[in-house]
Symmetry: C2
Subunit: 535 residues, 2 copies
Amino acid sequence: MQIWRRSFATSVGRLTHSSINSRPSIVRCAQILQASKNGGVSSFEDQEIKVNGFIRSVRKQKRFAFAEISDGSTVEPLQAILKPAQAADLSTGTAIEISGIWKACPPGKEQSHELQTTDVKVVGASDPETFPIQKKYHSPDFLRQIPHLRIRTPFNSLLSRFRSECMFQLGNVFHSHPDGAFTQVQPPLITSSDCEGAGETFTLAPRGAATPSTENEHFFRAPKYLTVSSQLHLEAYAAELGNVWTLTPVFRAEKSDTPRHLSEFYMLEAEVNFMSDLDSLTGLVEHLLRDLTRRLYNTTVGQEILSAKRSGEPGQESSAEETGSLRQRWIDLMDGPKWHRVTYTQAVEMLQRAVAEDGASFEHPPTWDGGLQLEHEKYIVEVLHQGRPVFVTDYPKSVKPFYMAPSQVPDGSNTPGETVACFDLLLPEVSEVAGGSLREHRLPDLIQNMREHGLIKPRQIPESGDPASGESLYPHLTPDEDLGHLQWYADLRRWGSAPHGGFGLGFDRFLGYLTGVSSVRDIVSFPRYFGRADC
Amino acid sequence: MQIWRRSFATSVGRLTHSSINSRPSIVRCAQILQASKNGGVSSFEDQEIKVNGFIRSVRKQKRFAFAEISDGSTVEPLQAILKPAQAADLSTGTAIEISGIWKACPPGKEQSHELQTTDVKVVGASDPETFPIQKKYHSPDFLRQIPHLRIRTPFNSLLSRFRSECMFQLGNVFHSHPDGAFTQVQPPLITSSDCEGAGETFTLAPRGAATPSTENEHFFRAPKYLTVSSQLHLEAYAAELGNVWTLTPVFRAEKSDTPRHLSEFYMLEAEVNFMSDLDSLTGLVEHLLRDLTRRLYNTTVGQEILSAKRSGEPGQESSAEETGSLRQRWIDLMDGPKWHRVTYTQAVEMLQRAVAEDGASFEHPPTWDGGLQLEHEKYIVEVLHQGRPVFVTDYPKSVKPFYMAPSQVPDGSNTPGETVACFDLLLPEVSEVAGGSLREHRLPDLIQNMREHGLIKPRQIPESGDPASGESLYPHLTPDEDLGHLQWYADLRRWGSAPHGGFGLGFDRFLGYLTGVSSVRDIVSFPRYFGRADC
């Protein structure tokens, strides 16, 4: 303390001098703290700096006050020391402009440097009695009720910066893909197409508009929905541009009440033309996710996530085990051996064997016709594949949408045509995180699939028209069939249709996996789900 | 031709040899053509290459056929020469995998190199009789009816790649901002808040759901809308993160039929905390747009836009004048003098003087109370400011939303408090492209603004409750007032609220300005507007 007081006096003298010449420049906490760790000429040591930020906590003693200051640029607080009078109006949350000299601390202090405050100005007061965000543990349930303030906890602030870095690095991943840059597109969200066929879409209408009695009374002259997937539109782009991607909101009106589902979430989707085997597609997904993780690992914010406190609970660092296992998760993603591929049929057989031989028990006994339940997916990835990523491929045609191409290498045990060339990517904890397929690129086969899925409508025959009169007939349709609002999609197969495939990845789920946050409701800042859309 | 035939024979010999060792790798047209322009070792000359692409046109002669091939990676076609038998099944649009030797052309040919085809495989046939995209002029009106195929014209394909490059470079602009990286956020699209107060929003409901008779019957337990602007949510992020931005879809249920409006469009929005003067905000906007334009100028796709054919009309290059003026537009954006700032009051006076002294005539005579019509904006930017970007600032409070802060430097001619600290950025041709403001960051003043805008609701007093009973009362409200669904927004001012500001820019309009495309319906691949939402 003796040393410190001497240097404080010296620096105040210096300050008076320097402040005549120039005002201190505003610096972000991340920059100061990072530079101080690295040392060297850019360490700001003994320089006057100014920070715009917030009081995270303040401790007032008789001769000095100590404040932790944050400006949202890093989880680590900046330590400031003030005179009691300077700290009089400060409490948790107060917005301040604070200037001072950045001094090295004597050995033994937790922080290497601290700000010796010369001036502090309150620009926005905070009432400590009512401010819901305090320097203490807040449960996720509590924080979800105040999403507009939840951002202000250190860990949630970090999550926002991590998402931002993910988006930035995603741009780099696709821009520098070895097969050539992917084109990022912005497909429409208002659409006629329910591409998953599940019907759980939101419909939209101008506020206060009367319920339309005819098609023409609709705002868009027909009912429209919020997209559940951009795949169909991506295929239109890919047919020209080759390789395309998008990160776009999608909407599902599901009444699910699970930590894995939201009504509004971001989907990362990509589509590649001239792709004719499923291995290329799973290989692409694996390459992209490894590349993204590797780039994130090399960023400051990536490293912050790997060592950050959880759930805004100060003082409670992640246990070594937790931090270690999260880091191991990233390393496995980046550098682990090639991810496993297992066909659906093999997976079902393995599950059945597990029941028969290893005493595994499931609520729904695994059957080939029954599809995979969440409990099955979890067992496949966590037990059968030791918690490592696994692609389950070639699902039964009967449980998948109309646009998928048939499997090229059917299991010996299956009838050809019984399965489709698709995959789900399973990760531990979050389970299904991505799904994709080769698309049926042949017009007659696509139309036959649509017929089987009941997507072809009876044709409206004009009174004066001859239904069978040549030119107006769409190829491969009978005179009384109509493709309706999907004709444009079939059109993509009429003139120069190459084999192609693509996938969609639940971006929020993947962020949850990377950050170790188990509910997407805590990954998305303003989550929307059945019964809840706060703010 | 003599020379060429000799080299063809030689290369076929070479090919046979090389094909024993390895299959030719797939290369993108952009890469081949760019490398050939640069020359040198990576020019692919005399190497065997393979391209996956489409026939843009084919010309069949007796001894040879000539094809223009495109794969969506560049506007420039790759020229291939084939034997007649190889070209038999080729027509405009055909999807092919084509291999050959990349040979220098004899001097005098339009192209420097051409592909001497060794093998061509049709992977998707095209019927030239019915394919709507031919190598000829297509009017924008015609192309708008087939947005799913419009992408396949050279110029529209280029527009998609240009948009992609814009998004990528935007990421760089914000990531490397001199004041520190901006955090990119993904605010919700489903919201209760109509932040512009215009009421022209879309409401949403699960498909097929009955009209709710009580609040609790709504999917989200209250009516929800598609966002018209993310500003309110951005303020919540900025209050923690400092500088934030988003590029996000917004929705307006306007029945406008203009080339400047869509019902679904992308908005670039940014919000900056600790910002207390309007000059900093307009300075930020100017910096960002200059930086973005400069980065785009230095890309291949940027240069393609500056010299590209328009409207998919092959053979009709932009006239030197058109290309020149578009390039000049970019140079003005990047390197021109500081953009003008003019207050609204000054602008109205200038318009009135133009009417009185210069014979200008307007449908709506300019008045201070009347706001600026499109005709006024056009005159301000195109005549009064010689077609250079101009910020019009400090509009009357009465014509602007509730959240704006009062002007700091009111015109001498105005009563203090009569105008607000806001701006519209006007560009020639597209007119208003961005708008922003400082936000009222003081809680009592914000609440007073809300009161004046009729945004405060009568309080629902519980039967058993005492309306005036202390703690449950929100500060600065009377006992019978309620902030309703905007309470969270007011909350942002309760605990540590600093002066801040931000803006929104019509991303599609700005792309139209950069590309010289005059209608946003031709800038957006799948445009949605009153009466139209194809595909």
